[in-house]
């Protein structure tokens, strides 16, 4: 019986395993050094916040794996030997495979800051990071202040988490406005205000120079590059993004760049080795997508696809319309299609913001053809299915504005803003036909 080995039990690896099991009777082994059972990485924050227990993070009950003959192996793969179709664990143990799927995920970036390896300095990616955070910041007596470095999604999640334990937070963002490499200015500013409303000390245009240690080798303060200001703190959280976790593949002969290089079939340079999820790097980026997509949804989609290929239905990774979501403290965000911080050539942005300053949308469209290109919505939920259809059918911006009600996904009885949005669009001269 063919033996499929999957390195990594995140959403990419688990989705693959589930789909292979549905399609075949192959022997499947899933390896993880992090946890025995699959959990939802995106929900780590809720354990620290006390919304959920660890068990609530597991999408499948523990009996699921045995029942579906998915073998779980706890161990750290230190080497892959593609010539021999064999893995080696750091314990020295070996395991052979017929097909190998690398779904090893990411590691947190560190940019060589002085003091970045001190005690009391950490990122948030893994279960181990969460345990460490519980040690470093159990309450505001042990952790008098935390400094977060990096203005991305994990940074703002960390800020929210720490605030639930009343720990004062200073949030250093390198950019001039929160996440403005992704969000248009109006949206980014709306989130800036919301962060401050939560009593988070948001510092924009702020770079970390170094982390200072106390006599025990623990972080005691950070120094800002611009002003030289020293901020006393007990915890420094580094969240400047993630990169593929592929160090264990160096020297194996598997082609790597920033991630594991794969073709559109998600195959590496070895026919029986595949890479999916955060650790995979496309030779050429697909459309507007990045060549490395470290997103829950794309990991799952790659898993769905590669399972087909492995079960004799070769399939390209050919994702549909881009979509994503996040939640910034109390404000939900969804996006469908493409909206960049600035409109591209021949494109225009329509921005609407509610007077309470907590809801807004940005619609991106082509000026000449009026083709709808994408939407960002904050504080209003939108239907994925409808926007996916409108994008496929290349509907016009006018169609979207007229039919926005159809796309609303807010709970029943919520206030509706379609008319206000429509009026705002109609009476803004630059959006007129």
């Amino acid at each position: 019986m063919e033996h499929i080995v999957i390195i990594g039990n995140g959403v990419a690896g688990i989705t693959t395993a589930r789909h292979i099991r549905k399609l075949s009777d192959k022997k499947i082994t899933i390896i993880s050094a992090e946890t025995e059972f699959f959990f939802s990485r995106t929900a780590l924050m809720y354990v620290y916040m006390g919304h959920m227990k660890w068990d609530n993070l597991k999408p499948y009950e523990d009996w699921f794996w045995k029942k579906n003959r998915l073998e779980l192996k706890t161990g750290y793969v230190s080497r892959v030997n593609p010539e021999a179709n064999e893995l080696e664990f750091d314990s020295g143990e070996k395991m052979s495979y017929d097909k190998l799927i690398i779904a090893s995920g990411s590691i947190s970036n560190k940019f060589g800051w002085p003091g970045q390896d001190l005690k009391g300095v950490q990122g948030l990616y893994s279960k181990q990071d969460l345990d460490l955070l519980e040690e470093n910041a159990p309450d505001n007596k042990v952790c008098k202040r935390a400094v977060i470095v990096g203005g991305g999604l994990i940074g703002i999640e960390m800020a929210e988490m720490l605030r639930t334990r009343d720990i004062p937070v200073t949030f250093l963002v390198r950019e001039s406005s929160f996440w403005n490499a992704v969000l248009p200015p109006g949206e980014s500013d709306l989130i800036n205000r919301h962060i401050r409303e939560h009593h988070i000390d948001l510092r924009l245009n702020a770079n970390l120079k170094e982390i200072l240690a106390d006599e025990n080798g623990r972080a005691r303060a950070v120094v800002l590059a611009e002003s030289g200001e020293e901020i006393e703190c007990s915890l420094v959280v580094l969240t400047p993004g993630v990169s593929p976790n592929i160090k264990f593949l160096e020297g194996s002969g598997i082609e790597i760049g920033r991630g594991v290089k794969v073709n559109r079939n998600l195959e590496t340079n070895f026919k029986n080795i595949y890479a999916i999820g955060d650790c995979a790097e496309q030779h050429e980026a697909i459309g507007n997508r990045k060549s490395i997509e470290a997103v829950w949804y794309t990991s799952r989609m790659m898993g769905e696809v590669v399972a087909q290929t492995i079960c004799d239905n070769p399939m390209k990774y050919n994702p549909g319309n881009w979509f994503n979501s996040a939640k910034f403290l109390d404000i939900e965000y969804q996006t469908y299609g493409w909206v960049f911080p600035e409109p591209g050539d021949g494109e225009a942005h329509f921005y609407w913001e509610h007077k309470n300053g907590k809801k807004c949308i940005t619609i991106n469209y082509e000026k000449a053809s009026r083709k709808f290109l994408g939407i960002n919505n904050f504080g209003i939920r939108m239907r994925h299915e409808i926007f996916d259809r409108w994008l496929n059918e290349e509907k016009s911006v006018d169609h979207v504005i007229e039919n926005l009600r159809e796309a609303n996904f807010d709970p029943e009885f919520f206030d509706r803003y379609e008319e206000e949005i429509r009026n705002s669009f109609k009476y803004t001269p630059e959006h007129k036909i």
Partner: protein, 530 residues
């Protein structure tokens, strides 16, 4: 994960230690309860009206003030911080103490009301008589133990209802739903029946009737003494009796078809009302395991079979044998019941067998056992005896086991241990009947938003009915489950806008997916063909 906080928070979202105003609010509420305890021990209060007012106001204001200190000044949003760290909301010592005290209260209320001051001859004393002023104000009669219970129940729904409104002030669905349960409890369950009893005289008497309490939840509605009362009360009595029959056979099916069972379970019902308000802090304690679901289905449907048989037996036992006396005699009644059940069973098997699938076997078992029992009634009954025992005994046994122990002692007493919907999920025959319809014949569903689910599990964690919502959402599949009471909290706590309670066409309501929206269109077409 983290150490438990030993404080009194019911909300999970409070400063680490109680502030001064929170302490004062807690002391006020407890003082109000203490007055009731004193009254139970026959303390002689000089002015009962004044002291009862003080006591009930102190309890209510204590709860409101405490809630205010927690939510006022907080930014609108989900308030589940630290829920699993607090001993009271994570089955710690205070949770057990509350569970035991509540359980004890129910045991005394149902089985030893003499300790509340119920006196068989002469006036009541103790706690019951302490409520006389309010009872006399409303109905003109002295209080009973049920009046005491009803009053405290109503105060709890109103005060904790306001707390819930504060907590979810950003969510109109939750607000409207909570106004609704507060209204129905205060009006229909509490005030109207009291006012109705003012109409009673020597010659005219209506039974105590909470109009929103529908058979089989109101399992005693068609007992002989009540039916006699309805009939002897003339037009208005007959209207109420007919309303009682229409409630379950006409009104309920129509509303459940249009809106799902939520119209009742989380908008109208008193049990649901208490669970959603006073019980809200314990919703995450429901068991989500698949094994719990299996137990739930057996237990709750067994209760349905039990209540159908019990009610049939009770009505059968007081009907006449002869069709000359009255058209509704024993034979007509039994045949009617059998016909009704056969019709329902046949319709489901003909039109819904694809959706029913494996569960058909269980449905058939339930159906056949009832029909066999009905045949048994016919051949093995004599006078008021059915088989070898009296129908009334069956009723008393049901009332004891289901009406008292299950719905009261376990259902409410154990909120802080098993969660707030134990009764609704495992025991309520009304919920099971509505759920049966909701699963097979209703426009209601919880829609999943394409591929947006991140499997975080907030929805499953905060589902008070123990539904593993995530299991559906992460497959892009709508949630169509008989137990869902439509509280809307899964949708509220979802961080990515994935869930929406909706009434829509029955076509495509159940939509199992292999591949979620967002992936290769060809792959989706290939695998999701229905």
């Amino acid at each position: 994960m983290s150490k438990l906080e030993h404080n009194m928070s019911l909300t999970g979202d409070v400063p680490k230690s109680l502030g001064l105003s929170q302490k004062l609010a807690a002391v006020l509420g407890i003082a109000g309860l203490f007055i009731l305890v004193l009254a139970s021990f026959n303390t002689n209060f000089p002015n009962k009206t004044l002291w009862l007012t003080i006591s009930l106001s102190a309890i209510a204001i204590g709860i409101l003030w405490y809630s205010y200190t927690i939510y006022a000044g907080k930014i609108e949003g989900i308030k589940n911080d630290q829920v699993w760290f607090r001993s009271i909301t994570n089955r710690g010592v205070p949770a057990w103490i509350i569970g035991i005290v509540l359980t004890g209260f129910y045991i005394v209320l149902y089985f030893y009301p003499k300790y509340l001051g119920l006196t068989s001859e002469g006036d009541n004393t103790g706690l019951i008589s302490f409520f006389d002023p309010l009872s006399k104000l409303l109905s003109g009669n002295p209080a009973s133990q049920w009046f005491v219970y009803g009053t405290l129940y109503t105060v709890a729904i109103l005060a904790f209802g306001v707390k819930f409104l504060w907590k979810y002030r950003h969510n109109n669905y939750e607000k409207l739903r909570t106004f609704s349960v507060m209204f129905f409890q205060l009006g229909f369950a509490f005030l109207i029946p009291e006012f109705m009893s003012r109409l009673n005289s020597e010659t005219f008497s209506l039974p105590y009737y909470d109009l929103k309490s529908i058979w089989p939840l109101n399992y005693y509605n068609f007992e002989q003494y009540r039916v006699d009362q309805f009939i002897s009360a003339g037009g208005i009595g007959m209207a109420m009796l007919i309303f009682g029959v229409l409630s379950i056979f006409v009104i309920t099916p129509i509303l459940t078809y249009k809106y799902g069972k939520r119209w009742y379970c989380s908008w109208v019902c008193g049990c649901g009302g208490l669970a959603e308000t006073a019980g809200d802090s314990f919703r995450h304690l429901s068991d989500k395991k698949q094994s719990a679901w299996k137990i739930e289905r057996w237990v709750v449907h067994s209760v349905v079979v039990f209540v159908v048989l019990m009610t049939t037996a009770v009505i059968f036992s007081y009907l006449g044998d002869d069709s000359k006396d009255y058209w509704l005699n024993r034979d007509v009644f039994l045949i009617g019941v059998a016909l009704l059940l056969t019709t329902v069973f046949a319709l489901v098997m003909i039109f819904k067998r694809n959706e029913f699938k494996k569960d058909a076997r269980y449905g058939a078992i339930g159906y056949i056992s009832i029909i066999l029992a009905l045949i048994g009634f016919y051949y093995l009954s004599e006078g008021s005896h059915i088989f070898l025992f009296e129908a009334e005994k069956l009723r008393v046994f049901y009332g004891f086991l289901i009406g008292s122990i299950f719905s009261g002692v376990i259902g409410t007493g154990f909120y802080p241990i098993f969660g707030n919907r134990v009764w609704c999920r495992f025991g309520c025959p009304m919920a099971a009947i509505l759920g049966f319809q909701q699963r097979l014949f209703s426009k209601f569903r919880i829609t999943t938003n394409g591929g947006q689910c991140i499997s975080c599990g907030n929805c499953s964690t905060y589902c008070e009915m123990g539904i593993d919502v995530r299991a559906y959402a992460q497959k892009g599949e709508n949630i169509v489950r008989s137990s869902c009471v439509g509280c809307g909290i899964c949708s509220a706590v979802c961080p990515r806008g994935v869930l929406k309670l909706e009434n829509d066409s029955m076509d495509g309501r159940i939509n199992p997916n292999e591949i979620l929206l967002g992936n290769d269109v060809d792959l989706m077409d290939l695998l999701n063909k229905k």
